[in-house]
């Protein structure tokens, strides 16, 4: 054991000292290098649930369906057609011209294998809710499959397009076992059918992909134009910018607004602000479980809503692609009604409401946050103007979510990305269906969401979601804040189109 480790260290040391070729980015090398601040060591979309793997998942693998971002329509991708047999059964006919990166032919047995594997709870898929609605799959012909659902789940099409990727039959069977005898499925060499195939993974450093020359013709994803794609982890934002300016990388995002403005002025790179599926919201402790009872009174919640200048936060801190939202969902999601009660910025009205609630001099409470501290600080500043003193409690997400579940946060300022699923069920139903995330457990809201989530009639779904969203905004269980927007910065040589769902489609990028 010790010898093996010594050998590993020695080899790594030698490899470091002897100059190895670095990743060459740019048009001249036909290599698009993109970076984020996270490590993506496990290249399997089921066993790594970071945003990076959502992007790589859509680049290296294909789903049965494809979502057309321009029309919102679901089109066949690995399938040629699909049909709801009833509200818990979907039939798919499959393409016959698809091969996996290892050369094996794609077919119905791969779909059956993938569905059976990922929907088995014991196999430890990390974001199990992405696949838990699938019950089973069966082959119904030489090129067709039938997928059974546990219960009606109209959002299934969105998941088939963005979260359920097809693996070859037997893919996970060779996964090594750990000390407890359980298989570690994330360690299997990645094999997909997508526009790019993974050729190298250096944990903590990079994932190298090359164009899949055998990629399906005339598919909705098109034909990839750039030869090589490299994902690099660079933790520090300033370093990312430095590397972009020197041409060592071609693409980055999450550029802070002030730096994005400066980069834009320099004219050295292309800077764009694009919307994302993530929304910001403030959840109130409407039951008083936290011990700070102020927000049990709707007038206090109304005062808070009127006191916060959301337009100003959007304009000065987030970016031009961000918008203030009235509903507890993203405006681009199906069923996200916009004609619900709204709360304008009106500090005078807020003060009056506060006085009516019995707090003319304001009060002091704890606000909790985990992301973009400056956004929450802006909220605190606005509340101070009407006499409410909010004490910041800033912590890691996992700690905060635990506190939220325990009900100990008077107000938590949170965000939700919906896994980029363009359906209200991915956010409103998650938070207001009576579970631990639900701050109100309102029976009327729960009933409306249950009906909307299980109906295949689009009109019924829209009407029920609207009913729920109207109650949530009207009663101010949440104060919906704004949509997130991201600043992207990329090489002037790159023809890249930003997307509204936070999933960059590198397979559509090309060099100018």
């Amino acid at each position: 054991m010790f010898r093996k480790l010594l050998a590993t260290t020695a080899i790594a040391l030698a490899a470091t000292v002897i100059a190895a070729p670095s990743v060459m980015a740019g048009k001249a090398n036909d290599t698009l290098v993109w970076t984020t601040d996270r490590e993506a060591a496990v290249a399997d979309p089921y066993y790594n649930n970071t945003r990076e793997l959502v992007i790589i998942g859509n680049t290296v693998w294909d789903g049965l369906l494809f979502r057309d971002l321009d029309t919102g329509e679901f089109k066949p991708l690995l399938a040629t057609s699909f049909k709801w047999v009833d509200n818990v059964t979907i039939d798919f006919d499959l393409r016959e011209d698809v091969v996996f990166h290892d050369g094996s032919k794609f077919g119905p047995e791969d779909v059956v294998y993938t569905v059976k594997h990922v929907s088995n709870k014991d196999n430890g898929v990390l974001t199990f809710k992405n696949v838990s609605w699938m019950k089973d799959a069966e082959q119904t012909g030489p090129n067709s499959v039938r997928i059974h659902l546990h219960k009606p789940f109209p959002a299934a099409l969105a998941y088939f397009a963005q979260a359920v990727f097809m693996m070859p039959e037997g893919h996970y069977d060779s996964a090594p076992k750990n000390a407890e005898g359980k298989q570690d499925f994330g360690t299997v060499q990645p094999v997909g059918t997508g526009p790019y195939q993974i050729t190298e993974i250096v944990a903590g450093e990079k994932i190298v992909m090359k164009r899949n020359e055998n990629y399906m013709k005339n598919g909705p994803k098109g034909t990839p134009a750039i030869g090589n794609l490299v994902y690099r982890t660079i933790k520090e934002g300033n370093t990312q910018i430095a590397e972009l300016l020197t041409g060592a990388i071609d693409w980055m995002w999450d550029v802070p607004k002030d730096q994005a403005d400066r980069l834009n002025e320099s004219g050295q790179v292309t800077v764009e602000n694009a919307k994302t599926m993530r929304v910001s919201y403030m959840a109130f402790d409407v039951d008083g479980d936290s011990g700070q009872k102020y927000f049990m009174d709707k007038k206090v919640r109304m005062a808070v809503a009127h006191a916060i200048n959301r337009e100003s936060i959007v304009k000065n801190l987030v970016g031009p692609a961000s918008v203030v939202i009235p509903s507890a969902c993203h405006p681009d999601q199906f069923g996200c009604a916009q004609d619900v009660p709204t709360w304008d910025y009106n500090p005078e009205k807020a003060k009056k409401l506060l006085a009516e609630a019995g707090y003319p001099e304001g009060f002091e409470f704890d606000i909790y946050a985990y992301r973009q501290r400056e956004f929450t600080e802006a909220v605190i500043s606005d509340l101070a103007k009407i006499g409410i003193k909010a004490k910041m409690n800033y912590m890691q997400y996992r700690k905060l979510r635990d506190l939220v579940w325990k009900g100990t946060t008077p107000i938590n300022h949170m965000t939700w990305g919906s896994n980029s699923i363009p359906d209200v069920s991915a956010i409103t139903s998650h938070f207001f269906s009576g579970g631990r995330d639900d701050p109100a457990k309102d029976p009327e809201v729960i009933a409306a969401l249950e009906k909307a989530d299980t109906s295949t009639d689009l009109a019924v779904r829209e009407a029920e979601y609207k009913k729920a969203l109207t109650k949530i905004s009207g009663e101010l269980y949440w104060l919906p804040m704004f949509t997130y927007a991201k600043y992207y910065a990329f090489s002037k040589d790159l023809d890249f189109k930003t997307t509204p769902d936070e999933i960059p489609r590198f397979y559509t990028a090309k060099w100018k």
């Binding site: 590993t8 260290t9 040391l13 496990v42 430890g124 903590g204 300033n238 370093t239 590397e243 060592a248």
Partner: protein, 305 residues
């Protein structure tokens, strides 16, 4: 001597165990590791399933003792996040940290010792003032800021050096300067103070009276004695650099142990964190031990005592 060494070793092992137990507890205090693994959008049922599948449903003390038992048998466990043996990851990334620490301490010693010696030979001169200025700047500059300044000038403006990665020796120049410069003031001041004391001692006057060349007096007789505390300080600083290079590794995207530790804390990767703490503790203990040996070699009085 053997009894002393064994006693020190015993204390060191206890320290390592205490640190590892504290690390284990603190990671739990910072939030549920199952929640970190399950990700932001996980439901309660997702998290409970992760807890069951990955063994986080066991009592904390059972998890710790299980880890400890395996570690004593040479198995540091598997990373639930990276899906690989912890020891393989650590020993694959250790070289980057060792190279960075080694080159940084070398840079610091090469800069600080000559400056300290020169400052001691000409106390209160312009050279002494320059050396003092360098020391003050080194102590006052936050390493992350100094690193960004280096990147701006050497990486972006003049494009002399690569900014990130570990693909060649040139990648280590800026990080080594940024990390090493922080250590320079302490080493320089200690060298200067030691040299001033030694140069005023009787045996140096005797050496000069014997007609020995100034270079011989300076390097063979004076520096050898003056440098003893510097060796101890350098050893401590080298240990600090191995464990504390998180900021520099993060800025320069060096895939080393510091960066791995930071990432592991963020994602509550318990087996990885535990192993890193253990490995760093052992390295630190070894470095301190080697510094003692070197001091004894430099100063026979230490050997005799």
């Amino acid at each position: 001597m053997l009894k002393f060494a064994l006693r020190r070793l015993g204390v060191a092992v206890l320290v390592a165990l205490t640190v590892s137990l504290l690390t284990f507890s603190m990671i739990y205090l910072s939030g549920d590791p199952a929640m970190a693994l399950a990700g932001e959008t996980a439901t309660q049922s997702d998290i409970e399933n992760i807890r069951r599948v990955y063994g986080y449903d066991q009592p904390i003390i059972v998890q710790y003792l299980s880890w400890l038992g395996n570690a004593l048998q040479g198995d540091l466990g598997r990373s639930h996040y990276l899906k690989t043996d912890v020891s393989e990851v650590i020993f694959a990334r250790l070289p980057n940290t060792m190279i960075l620490g080694g080159t940084a301490i070398t840079f610091a010693l090469i800069l600080a010792i000559p400056l300290g010696v020169v400052a001691a030979i000409r106390p209160n001169s312009i050279i002494d003032r320059i050396a003092l200025t360098i020391a003050v700047i080194g102590q006052a500059l936050p390493s992350f800021w100094f690193a960004l300044i280096l990147i701006f000038f050497l990486g972006i403006t003049f494009r002399l050096l690569p900014i990130t990665g570990t693909s060649s020796w040139m990648n280590f120049i800026m990080p080594s300067i940024a990390l090493g410069y922080y250590v320079t003031p302490g080493v320089m001041r200690l060298t200067r103070a030691g040299m001033l004391e030694v140069l005023g001692s009787d045996y140096i006057r005797t050496a000069k009276a014997k007609g020995l060349r100034p270079v011989t007096v300076l390097f063979k007789h004076a520096l050898r004695n003056a440098i003893i505390p510097v060796v101890s300080l350098a050893a401590v600083q080298f240990g600090f650099m191995l464990g504390g290079s998180i900021v520099i590794e993060t800025i320069f995207a060096i895939n080393g142990l510091g960066f791995l530790a930071w990432e592991s804390i963020q994602r509550a990767d318990l087996p990885m964190m535990q192993a890193i703490v253990l490995v760093l503790s052992i390295i630190y203990i070894l470095i301190t031990f080697l510094a003692d040996i070197m001091n004894a070699w430099l100063d026979p009085r230490i050997r005799v005592n």
